[in-house]
């Protein structure tokens, strides 16, 4: 490209060339996509270069979740490329998923030419209109000279502040048009300036409150993962310094190691008894990058009634949204924790003895052993399957993705995470079909890692087509299906709420997953005996291809402990108390309205 290049990086080129150039300039190595008429010029440019590798999925939803898995496991933006109309509408689910879970996702969509917009042209849809509520921001680029700037801004918005999905919609004529490319700018738009540094006075107040706590707890969340590796390290340092117990949401698992001695396990609806009881009875709660989701709080008016609450969050709208807090600190977890740890070191003489009574109380709750389950020699209990999977793979530092349902909760309870960025799950939207493509995305980013999708037999059928992409791109992902023949989580709720009338939650005509794996050119394994499980899992790990593992588990197991809808933390349903009758009566009329 000789014409007009100068030392500021401004160059003349086509819109399609700009797209690829902007990807390179923003450090993108892989994108996930699916072609179509409205993005053919971009695909033509992709064809003519090697810097950005394109992963061809089999459905645009798969592209989105793959990009999410890629993003969550690397901390970088995930990128997807889809065509107009149906390509864009198929992207909506992963966009909303990424919005709910704060995942940086850049989605580039083709659009009909500007001259045809609004004419109901072939494969036209109002992409910016449809995706407005499910993106952090979106753009329709009508002038090729705005394209480079917009793409750079898109990466900036997606990855900074509270991360999220963005869409850049590019009409086909803009892709062909020539214009001036400008490199990523240093001065982003003036209206967008997330606050990363916390207010130091507030941090001081927080330290003072924490230092005098008798029954403190740290409740950390996905924001710690979003903030990056250093945030997790600072979190570990704070726990070490203070001697406080720590629990985490589903989204924050791995930020503090599950092997750490202060770890109470996950909290919330399917969290441990000790975590929820400690939340309920604490006197000071330090919430770090979590959003008081309804899966966490249970009945709001009974949520941790006696505690002072400190909340660190980068998004002011997360503060006081569901739960009113005493000391809000707006800022990035990493930055705020740096201040907090420094001030703690300088001002607090930790009196860990003062916490002994609290730890004794926690030990009593722990002794309830709320994750216990009865093992069985004949059938594989789903919890046992996860335990074995964990024991046999932990030395490989695996990346785990999940689908949505009971298996997801059992994975969260019984697989233990030592590091951040190794656990990808759809928490906020709860998207069945997330796990398989997410695993593909993770594997593309970490070629030699062991990547396992812990799946349910119903969820896995929602994006099963991506097996084909996994085979094509030599991504040896392992799909570990806890096959209970039911939509187990739905069945569990029908038991709780609807008199055990199992309306449409049983899957008849289940495919033969082993044959299905083989049909895709992958490897299939079936196991239905506890005694054979270890060997089968070892086989799965050793196979260098994608594997579908059909793990036949007890069909009617339920996921406990559980805070039934509309109940408080100290009203948990524990596994040993969950008789059929207790289950049938656990939720009252008010609770039935809730989700």
């Amino acid at each position: 490209m000789s014409n007009g290049q100068n030392d500021t990086g401004r160059r003349e080129m086509t819109g399609a060339e700009m797209v690829v150039q902007a990807l390179k300039d923003n450090g993108v190595k892989h994108i996930f996509g699916y072609p179509g008429g409205a993005v053919l010029p971009i695909y033509d440019e992709i064809f003519q270069q090697d810097d950005v590798e394109h992963i061809l999925v089999r459905h645009e939803q798969g592209a989105g979740h793959a990009a999410e898995g890629y993003a969550r496991s690397t901390g970088k933006a995930g990128v997807m490329l889809v065509t107009s109309g149906p390509g864009a509408t198929n992207a909506v689910t992963p966009l909303q998923d990424a919005l709910m879970d704060s995942i940086p996702l850049v989605c580039i969509t083709g659009q009909v030419p500007t001259t045809l917009i609004g004419s109901d042209a072939f494969q036209e849809c109002d992409t910016v209109g449809i995706t407005r509520p499910c993106t952090k921001h979106n753009w329709l680029v009508k002038d090729v000279n705005d394209l480079a700037k917009t793409l750079h801004e898109a990466f900036h918005v997606a990855t900074t502040g509270r991360p999220g999905p963005v869409v850049v919609d590019i009409p086909k004529d803009v892709q062909f048009a020539r214009g001036v490319y400008t490199p990523p700018q240093t001065a982003p738009r003036t209206s967008y300036h997330p606050q990363v540094q916390g207010d130091l006075d507030r941090v001081k107040e927080a330290v003072a409150l924490l230092a005098n706590a008798k029954r403190p707890i740290i409740y950390s969340g996905g924001g710690v993962i979003n903030s990056g590796q250093e945030a997790s390290e600072l979190l570990r340092e704070l726990v070490e310094l203070s001697g406080f117990p720590i629990t985490s949401t589903l989204m924050g698992l791995g930020a503090y190691p599950a092997s750490g001695k202060n770890w109470l396990g996950m909290l919330g609806m399917h969290g441990t008894y000790e975590a929820n009881m400690a939340m309920h009875d604490c006197d000071v709660m330090l919430c770090i990058g979590a959003r008081f989701d309804d899966r966490i709080t249970g009945r709001l008016d009974a949520f941790s009634p006696g505690s002072k609450k400190i909340h660190i969050d980068i998004d002011p709208s997360s503060i006081n949204k569901n739960v009113r807090v005493d000391i809000p600190i707006i800022g990035d977890v990493g930055h705020v924790l740096e201040d907090l740890v420094r001030l703690w070191r300088a001002t607090v003489k930790a009196d860990k003895k003062a916490l002994y009574p609290w730890w004794e109380q926690i030990a009593k709750w722990r002794a309830r052993d709320s994750l216990a389950f009865k093992t069985n020699d004949e059938v594989i209990m789903p919890q046992y399957a996860i335990q074995r999977l964990y024991e046999l793979t932990k030395h490989r530092d695996p990346f785990i993705t999940t689908e949505v349902g009971q298996h997801q909760m059992w994975a969260a309870q019984h697989f233990h995470f030592e590091k951040p960025h190794h656990w990808m799950t759809s928490g906020g939207l709860g998207t069945m079909g997330y796990g398989l493509p997410a695993a593909l995305g993770v594997q593309i980013a970490h070629r030699d890692a062991l990547v396992i999708d812990i799946a349910g037999d119903a969820s896995i059928q929602m994006c099963i087509q991506e097996m084909s992409a996994a085979v094509q791109f030599d991504a040896p992902i392992k799909i570990f299906i806890l096959n209970n023949q039911y939509m187990g989580m739905v069945r569990q709720w029908q038991q709780l709420l609807h008199g055990n009338r199992l309306s449409h939650s049983y899957t008849e005509a289940m495919p033969d997953f082993v044959k299905l794996a083989e049909a895709y050119g992958a490897h299939g394994i079936r196991c239905d005996k506890p005694a054979n499980l270890d060997d089968a899992i070892n086989e799965m790990i050793s196979v260098k291809k994608p594997v579908i593992f059909d793990c036949r588990v007890a069909t009617l197991a339920n996921c406990f402990p559980m805070i039934p809808s509309g109940k408080a933390h100290n009203e948990m349903l524990l596994p040993d108390e969950a008789t059929d009758e207790a289950v049938a009566n656990a939720i009252d009329a008010k609770g039935r309205e809730l989700v």
Binding site: R132, T190, Y192, D294, S317, K590
Partner: protein, 190 residues
């Protein structure tokens, strides 16, 4: 557009909000770019907030800034959420709760004015009465023939409501209102 009064938020908000809903006027400074109004309105409908009145116009042409004035209703908790949710929108520069600001300045309310065009048709006594009342309300006649008047009236919302109510039996045909324009008293800007 008064969708609902109940605070949205957590599915677990089964306990009634204890605070009373209040009416507040917000000023929102935004980049005047395509779709920005849709973002603001979509936020209100998507999250179940109320819009009682909405006006928008570009106010600083060189910087392409528009000022959106929204009158909304909610408990203090909901109003805080509305402000923070608006601030998340990328092209939004600033959100000022004029009602809160007025309180801080020791004033009752911000200055709020609305303009309305009111068409009244009729003959005889009703016609005379309409004109007399318009005069009393300082509404001006901007179009008329022997069978109708169009009045232009500006003022507080309550005054306009009252004027319209009075015109109803006198042959009110149609009304067009701008929605509320508002700012705080005193020398400072928003």
């Amino acid at each position: 557009m008064n969708a609902q009064l109940q605070a949205t938020g957590s599915a677990y908000f089964i306990s009634k909000e204890t605070q009373r809903p209040e009416i507040h006027t917000l000023s929102v400074l935004v980049d005047n770019e395509p779709g920005v109004l849709a973002r603001v309105i979509g936020l209100f409908s998507g999250r179940g907030y109320n819009i009682e009145s909405l006006t928008v116009s570009e106010t600083e042409h060189e910087k392409h800034l528009s000022r959106i004035t929204i009158v909304t209703r909610g408990t203090q908790h909901v109003l805080d959420q509305i402000k923070h949710q608006l601030e998340r929108i990328v092209p939004v520069h600033r959100v000022i709760d004029l009602t809160v600001r007025a309180g801080e300045l020791g004033q009752d309310r911000p200055l709020e004015r609305e303009l309305a065009l009111v068409k009244v048709a009729g003959t005889g006594d009703a016609r005379v009465e309409a004109l007399r009342l318009a005069d009393a309300f300082r509404a001006s006649v901007i179009d008329a023939n022997t069978e109708h008047f169009i009045f232009e009236i500006t003022g507080k919302v309550s005054k306009i409501e009252q004027f319209i109510a009075i015109m109803k039996p006198l042959g009110l045909v149609e009304v067009c209102r701008t929605g509320v324009a508002a700012m705080n008293r005193g020398p400072q800007g928003m």
